[in-house]
Symmetry: C2
Subunit: 487 residues, 2 copies
C-alpha cells in the first residue's frame, strides 16, 4: 500500500469538507501517476483508521470519485482506479522547480511585452513628485457613497446590477452630452458618445478599428508613451513629427502627407504630453484642413481639458470639425480619481457603434453603478463644484511650486509655468544624472521618476514632468527641499 | 454687418458664462466660413446693444478670442478675424443632414462589426426568461455598500483611489488564491492570478496573446458565441469539433491534430454553452495528454463552476495539468451581479504578466474599490454565504421549472435537467418557429429569446437556453403559463 499518511494532507480548518479534500487528494494521486489505472484503493475502513477520519467521510469521497469516473467499485473486490483513464507517466513526487521546467511540455507563444518592466506602485504612502496626478485626498468620496446608496435604494428590482449597455449608462451619456456641449461647444447627441474606462480605452478602441498592420500614424517626436505602445501593439508604424511651443508642426506633417499615406494623426492639443505645450489656433485649423484634404482621422486626446488656470481652454478640434474627421477622447479619471475609471470617446455614430461592439468583446460593459453615480454628480452640479474647488487648490500649488523652482532651482533646470494641467515640464542641466537623482531621492524618502518614461527612439531630453497637484503646500516645500539638498 | 442676432444664440440658463458662449459662437462663425480672415467684427458697443448684453461681456469674449489668436485687435480700427488663419470655404448655414453627408470628406475605415445587431436591453423591468442570468435581487448590495464605506474610511490617504495594479488588488488576488485552492484544488500563487473584468476579458486577453492571424483554434460545434466572436475578431480560424453528452469529442480532435497544427482548444468543461453538458473525466485526461503531446494551449472557461446542485463539480483541468498547458478562466459576475464585473485568469506567471501588460494598454487597471470590497467579502465569509444561499434558491427554482416543463411542455420540447448552471437547454419540436414564439410572447408581456444567438454555421438547433434562476417561483409559474398559452 502507498504511504497514504504522507501522501494525503488534509486541512481540518478549511472551508472545504474533508470528503471533498480527500477526493481531490486521490485525483491528484491519479493524475500525477502515483496511482495507475486498475490500482486498488485502500478500503474505507483501513483508510479511515490510517488518516483518523470518520469512515463515512471516506465513503463519501469514494462515492464522489465513482460518480466522476475516476474509480470503479467492483463488488466484493473493492475500489479500483478506472481502467478507462489514459495512462499517465509516473512523476517524481518531490520534483524541484527546475525538474518541473524540464519535464513540462507546454504550448509556445510569442510575448510582445517581453522584458517589460513591472508597473510602479503608485499606492505607496511615500512623499512623491509624480507625473501629474490629481490629489485623491480632494476626491469627494462621501458624495460618491451617497450616490451609491441612493442608487441602490432607488433603482427598481436592482436593475442596475443586471447586464447593461456596452456604450455606457444612458443617463451618463445624456449628462455628458450636456456637459461637453456647455464646456467644449461640442454639438453632439448621445449616440456620438461611448463611455470608456478612461482615455486609455478610447485610444485602444479607436486604434484597433482605424488601422491595419503597417498603416502609418503621425505622432509627436515627444509623445505620450502609453499611446505609442497601443499603436505599436496594433502593428501601426509611427511617423514622428516635431512638436514646438505651438504644438505639432503641421507644415512638416504636410510635407510627409505629400509623400506617403498617413491613416491618422494623434495629438494632445492641450498640454501635450510630456512637454505641456498647447496647440495654436492656426495649426488646429490647418490640421483640420489637411485631414479633409488627405482624408485621415485625427485622434484628439484632450485628457487635460478640464484643468486650466488663468486662461480659458481652446475649443477642441472636434467642435470645429465639419468633416467628421476627429475622434475626440477625454477622461474624468484625472478630474475625480484615477482608480474610478470613466472616460469617453466622441465620434460619428457608426464609429461609436463599432467601438462599442469591440468593447463588448473585451469586457462586455463598464461599471454601471459608477456610471449612474457620475451621471447624478453631473446633474446635481457636484461634479463641477468639485472641479472648481480642485482647480483653485491646484493653481495655488502650481504657483508655489513654480516659485520655488524659479528661486531655488534656476541654475539646474529650465521650465515654463504651465497654463494648465498638473505638472511642470522641467529640463535639467545636462550634467545632472536623473537616474542617480531618482535613486538618491528615494533614500531620502522622496519618490521621483528618472525621466526614462518620457524618452523614445527620437526624443532624449534630460527632462521630467514634475507633478505639483497631488502635494499639499507643506509637502511641496518638503519635497523640493529634499530635492534641493540632493542636488 | 452679418445678422448676428440670428447667428448668435446664447443660453442664459447655462452653467457656461455668457462671454465663453459668445466667444465660442464667433469661433463657430469663423470655422464654418461665415466670417473670413480679415473680416471685421462689430464693435463691443454695437454688439452688446444688438444682443442685449453687458458691454464687458462682449469685451471679455473678444479678449479671449485675441488670446487664442482667432482675431486681432488693430488700434483705432477694431477687431478683425486673424489673417493667419487658413481660408475655410463658406458653408451653407442651414444644410440638411443629407447635404452634410455629401459635403464631408472624412477618413475611411473598415468596420469588422458591420451590420451587427444592437445589444439587447437586459435592464428592462419585464418578465423575462433569460439566457441563464443570476437573480440580482438576491445580490447583497447592502454588504457591498458596507464594505465600500469601510474601505473609504479605513484606507490611509485614500490610496485606493490612486492608480492601482493592472493585475488587480493584491488583497483580492490573495483571497482568490485561497478560495480557488479550497474549492478547485488549484495549487497556485498570487503571481498566477490576473483579476479581469469578467471571463470575457480573460478570453480576449488570452486570445490576443496566443494567436497570430490564421492560426487555428478548436472549439465545439456548438459554442459560446461571444468567445467565437473574439477568436474571429483576432483573425483566428475556428475548427469545430463535435460535442456530445460527455463534452467535446477528443477522439475527433486527435484525428484533426494528426493532420493540422492547432494552437489552442477552447472548452467549457462545466455546463458547456449552450447545451449544459459536463466533460467526462476520461476526456479531460485525454485532452490534457493531447495538449502535452501536440503542445497546444487549453483555454478552460469554467464560468459556471460555482453553480452545482446535487453533485459536486469536477476538478478543473487546470488543477490536474502538470504541463502548464491550461489557461483557466473564471468569473464572479454570475455569482454576485453581472454589472459588477470581476473575473480571473490563471496561468503561468509569464503569461499572466503578458496579459497584465496588454490589459494595461486597454484600460490601465480594474476597479480598485470593487476589488478591495470583494476581497473583504471573501475574507469574512460573506461571499460564500451568499453563494450557498443563492444555490439553494436556484435549486428550488430549477426543480420547479423542470417539473413544469416535464408536465406541461413534454410534447413540444425535450431537455435534460441540468446538474448545475442557471439554464435548461431545451430542444423544441421542429414545427415550432422560435422567432414567432418570441414575437408572440413579447406581445403577451413575456421576453424570451428566439434562439438565433445559439446558432452558427454548423449548429442549427431549434433550441433555447431557458434561464430559471432569475425568476421567483411565482414568476416561473406566470412565465411558463404565458408560454404554454402561446404554444
Amino acid at each position: 500500500m502507498l504511504p497514504y499518511k504522507t501522501l494525503i494532507q488534509l486541512n481540518r480548518d478549511s472551508n472545504v469538507s474533508l470528503y471533498v479534500q480527500l477526493g481531490n487528494a486521490f485525483i491528484g494521486l491519479i493524475t500525477n501517476g502515483t496511482l495507475q489505472p486498475n490500482d486498488a484503493l485502500p478500503s474505507s475502513r483501513v483508510l479511515s483508521e490510517l488518516l483518523g477520519l470518520n469512515r463515512n467521510t471516506v465513503k463519501l469521497a469514494y462515492e464522489e470519485l465513482i460518480i466522476q469516473d475516476w474509480v470503479v467499485s467492483i463488488e466484493r473486490k473493492g475500489i479500483f482506479v478506472s481502467s478507462k483513464l489514459p495512462v499517465v507517466n509516473r512523476r517524481r513526487t518531490n520534483n524541484t522547480a527546475e525538474d518541473s521546467q524540464k519535464q513540462v511540455n507546454s504550448f509556445s507563444w510569442h510575448n510582445p511585452f517581453e522584458g517589460q518592466q513591472e508597473t510602479d506602485d503608485f499606492q505607496q504612502s511615500i512623499l512623491t513628485i509624480d507625473d501629474g496626478f490629481p490629489d485623491v485626498r480632494l476626491t469627494p468620496v462621501d458624495l460618491l457613497m451617497r450616490e451609491y446608496r441612493s442608487i441602490a435604494k432607488r433603482m427598481y428590482g436592482k436593475n442596475f446590477l443586471k447586464y447593461g449597455f456596452p456604450k455606457g449608462s444612458e443617463n451618463l451619456r445624456e449628462a455628458l452630452r450636456r456637459y461637453l456641449s456647455d464646456t467644449r461647444g461640442l454639438n453632439i447627441q448621445p449616440e456620438n458618445i461611448l463611455i470608456t474606462k478612461g482615455s486609455q480605452m478610447g485610444i485602444y478602441l479607436a486604434t484597433q478599428l482605424l488601422f491595419r498592420p503597417n498603416d502609418k500614424i503621425a505622432v509627436g517626436v515627444s509623445n505620450y508613451r502609453s499611446a505609442d505602445e497601443i499603436f505599436r501593439y496594433s502593428g501601426v508604424n509611427l511617423l514622428r513629427i516635431p512638436v514646438d511651443s505651438f504644438g505639432m508642426d503641421v507644415d512638416v506633417l504636410e510635407d510627409r502627407l505629400k509623400r506617403e499615406a498617413i491613416k491618422a494623426v494623434y495629438i494632445i492639443p492641450h498640454h501635450h504630453f510630456p512637454t505641456t505645450v498647447t496647440m495654436s489656433t492656426d495649426r488646429r485649423l490647418k490640421l483640420l484642413e489637411l485631414a479633409r484634404q488627405y482624408r485621415f482621422a485625427i485622434i484628439e486626446d484632450d485628457y487635460d481639458f478640464d484643468f486650466h488656470y488663468s486662461n480659458k481652454p481652446y475649443l477642441p478640434l472636434a467642435s470645429i470639425d465639419h468633416n467628421h474627421n476627429v475622434i475626440y477622447i477625454g477622461s474624468i479619471t484625472k478630474t475625480f480619481a484615477p482608480a474610478l475609471r470613466i472616460g469617453f470617446l466622441i465620434a460619428e455614430p457608426k464609429f461609436v457603434d463599432a467601438c462599442s461592439s469591440l468593447r463588448q468583446l473585451i469586457d462586455k460593459q463598464g461599471d454601471s453603478l459608477l456610471e449612474e453615480a457620475f451621471s447624478s454628480l453631473y446633474n446635481n452640479g457636484e461634479m463641477e463644484r468639485h472641479f472648481r474647488k480642485a482647480i483653485k487648490i491646484y493653481q495655488q500649488r502650481r504657483n508655489l511650486f513654480c516659485e520655488i523652482l524659479n528661486t531655488d532651482f534656476k541654475d539646474i533646470l529650465s521650465f515654463d509655468t504651465p497654463e494648465g494641467g498638473l505638472a511642470v515640464w522641467s529640463l535639467f542641466d545636462k550634467r545632472m544624472d536623473l537616474r542617480k537623482l531618482s535613486q538618491l531621492a528615494l533614500k531620502k524618502g522622496l519618490k521621483i521618476a528618472d525621466g526614462s518614461f518620457y524618452e523614445n527612439e527620437m526624443f532624449k531630453p534630460n527632462g521630467l514632468r514634475m507633478g505639483f497637484a497631488s502635494l499639499t503646500e507643506q509637502e511641496i516645500l518638503k519635497s523640493l527641499e529634499t530635492l534641493k539638498k540632493i542636488i
